[in-house]
Structure formats: structure tokens, C-alpha cells
């Protein structure tokens, strides 16, 4: 069957210099296209520059967000960011959709920072996965984080009970 709609969403995190990241999110579908770019600096993980650019808006619903982008300077990636970003970017005079994409971009920085930690955990506490059901384990998972390391990671309140991997360990 031929598709009649596609959406594509690509987020890239670069470390421009030690402790300074650029996150670029590009979203594109038949009705909408946008590019969001933020630079975020450690140790506070606060936004130093922000660009919110909409390049396709078939229904003309999204207002110019240049002034909104300026208000993002100083917003931190971390607890409380959801409420703050929705208040600044979303609502009647802004764009809820851009707010959600921006939050996604910010979350991807957290993922990026987590990758080295997970890599270390896989090296220190890695194991060959157990098999759970049909076609579940493939060559893509030659080494995963094992139970003992999972329990250590689950001590982090941010991870505890956050998903199937970190639930029911008590």
C-alpha cells in the first residue's frame, strides 16, 4: 500500500566544546516543517541561544516565535523544564507543538549525556541477554546491562520505577 503521509523527526546533539552542547531538532511532515536549535551550557545546563524556525505551516497557525525564543535564554534542562517551556512557548499566543518539540530536544541532551554512563555500565556490568519470547533477542543485543548493574542504576530516583527495566526490583 502506498503511503499518503509521512513524518520525520531528527534530533542531533553535538558537543561544540567541553560543556557546551548544540541540540538541533528538525521535524517535517506533509503539513508542517520546523527547525529548533538550542545551545546549552554546563554546569547549570542553561539555554544560551535558541532558534525556533517554522518553514512549513500549511494552515498558517503558528505565530512568529522570534521573541519567544529570546525568553528561553536561561531556562535549564532539568526538573521543572516541562512547565516552564510550556508556559513560555505554548498557550494561546504561542505554539504547543513547538513547545513539545523543544522539550524533546532538551530531553535528547539528557540522553546524550547518559550514553557514556550506559556504555560504562555495559562494560562493567554487561552480560549476554536472556531470551524472553519469540524473535525478541537478535544480534543487535550481544551485550546489555545485567541485573546487578540495573539494581545499582535503579538507586537513582530519576530511574527508579521509570520503566519495565527499573520496576519490581525491591
Amino acid at each position: 500500500m502506498i503511503l499518503d503521509f509521512q513524518s520525520h523527526n531528527l534530533t542531533v546533539v553535538e558537543e561544540l566544546e567541553p560543556g557546551l552542547w548544540r541540540i538541533t531538532l528538525r521535524a517535517d511532515d506533509n503539513l508542517f516543517s520546523a527547525k529548533i536549535m538550542i545551545d546549552v551550557k554546563a554546569p547549570a545546563l542553561d539555554i544560551r541561544t535558541a532558534t525556533l524556525e517554522v518553514t512549513r505551516d500549511v494552515f498558517g497557525q503558528i505565530p512568529d516565535l522570534a521573541d519567544v525564543a529570546k525568553k528561553l535564554i536561561g531556562v535549564r534542562v532539568g526538573p521543572g523544564m516541562t512547565k516552564i517551556v510550556r508556559e513560555i512557548v505554548g498557550g494561546a499566543s504561542g505554539s504547543d507543538r513547538i513547545a513539545e518539540l523543544l522539550l524533546e530536544a532538551m530531553e535528547m541532551l539528557v540522553n546524550a549525556i547518559t550514553v557514556p554512563e550506559l556504555r560504562k555500565a555495559t562494560e562493567l556490568g554487561g552480560t549476554r541477554p536472556e531470551v524472553f519470547g519469540d524473535e525478541s533477542v537478535t544480534e543487535l543485543n550481544d551485550r546489555v546491562i545485567g541485573l546487578e548493574m540495573i539494581k545499582k542504576l535503579a538507586a537513582n530516583p530519576r530511574l527508579k520505577d521509570s520503566c519495565a527495566a527499573f520496576r519490581g526490583l525491591d
Partner: protein, 154 residues
């Protein structure tokens, strides 16, 4: 400003929507990043806007327990497309299962609804190239309150 850095992390999510006869819409989604690879296929019975089937596969993941998530994804069978759907997906499928798969499923469900709007716009413009799009959108939202509540086009 042009960057000279190599990417440290990237995530791609892509969704494709098909109309299968008058009553069914199908979406397939793929997520790939440094940590995860996932895919899902969801079929929705359109007259009632309910999820009729889902196949969600965790292809690449980080821990020995990630696959435990797969048993929760069928919890969404029978759920309707309405303003509550994103919350249910994130809470039930995400927190009990996998939040990365939940993010992909949310994208897929939004794509289904946006596809419906795009399809109807295209059909309407074929008969009326000078169609007022804002008026068309207002009509769509008025006539499809459940879809309108979920669309988040702005």
C-alpha cells in the same frame, strides 16, 4: 553558525500512514538512536477511532530487563483517539513498559490524525484550488471534535 563538531548523539523517528479501505488506518513507526532501535505497527478502526491492533518490537535496547516492556504494549487495544490518549500512552505503556517506545507510539498516533487532515485537505483542494484553508480547518475541527482535541496543529 556552522558547526565543526561530530554528533555525540542523534535520534531519528519516522512514521508512515496508510488508509486501508474506508474503515482502517495503519501507521508504522521506526525509532533509532545510539541506545535504542524500535518499531511498531498500529491499526485503527476509524469509524470508532479505536486502536484495534499493535505490534511493537524492541529491537535494540540497553538492559537485560528492557524486553519485559513488550508485554504491556497491547494494553492500548481498544483505546480511543481523544485528548486523553497521549497521557495514557506515556503513563501505561511508558512507565510500565518503555518510555522510548511510548514516545514513538505518540508520534505515530499524531501522524494518523494529521494524515487524515492532510488527506481531506488534498481532496477538497482538488475540487477547489482556491479553498480557504483556515475555514477548512475550522470546519474539520468542528465536525471532528475528538480528532480536533488530539490534533495539536498549532
Amino acid at each position: 553558525m556552522k558547526s565543526s563538531s561530530m554528533p555525540q548523539y542523534s535520534r531519528l523517528k519516522t512514521c508512515g500512514v496508510q488508509k486501508q479501505g474506508p474503515d482502517y488506518r495503519v501507521v508504522s513507526g521506526v525509532l533509532e538512536d545510539e541506545l535504542y532501535a524500535m518499531q511498531c505497527e498500529i491499526r485503527v478502526y476509524w469509524p470508532e477511532l479505536t486502536i484495534e491492533s499493535i505490534k511493537a518490537r524492541m529491537k535494540r535496547f540497553t538492559t537485560d530487563r528492557c524486553l519485559l516492556a513488550e508485554k504491556f504494549f497491547s494494553n492500548c487495544l481498544g483505546w480511543s483517539i481523544d485528548s486523553e490518549l497521549d497521557g495514557k500512552i506515556k503513563k501505561d505503556l511508558g512507565r510500565n513498559g518503555c518510555r522510548h517506545m511510548a514516545a514513538l507510539i505518540v508520534d505515530c498516533m499524531h501522524s494518523l490524525v494529521r494524515a487524515e487532515l492532510a488527506r481531506r485537505l488534498k481532496e477538497s483542494m482538488a475540487g477547489n484550488p482556491s479553498l480557504d484553508k483556515k475555514e477548512f480547518l475550522a470546519d474539520f475541527l468542528r465536525n471532528n471534535p475528538n480528532l480536533g482535541g488530539y490534533l495539536k496543529i498549532r
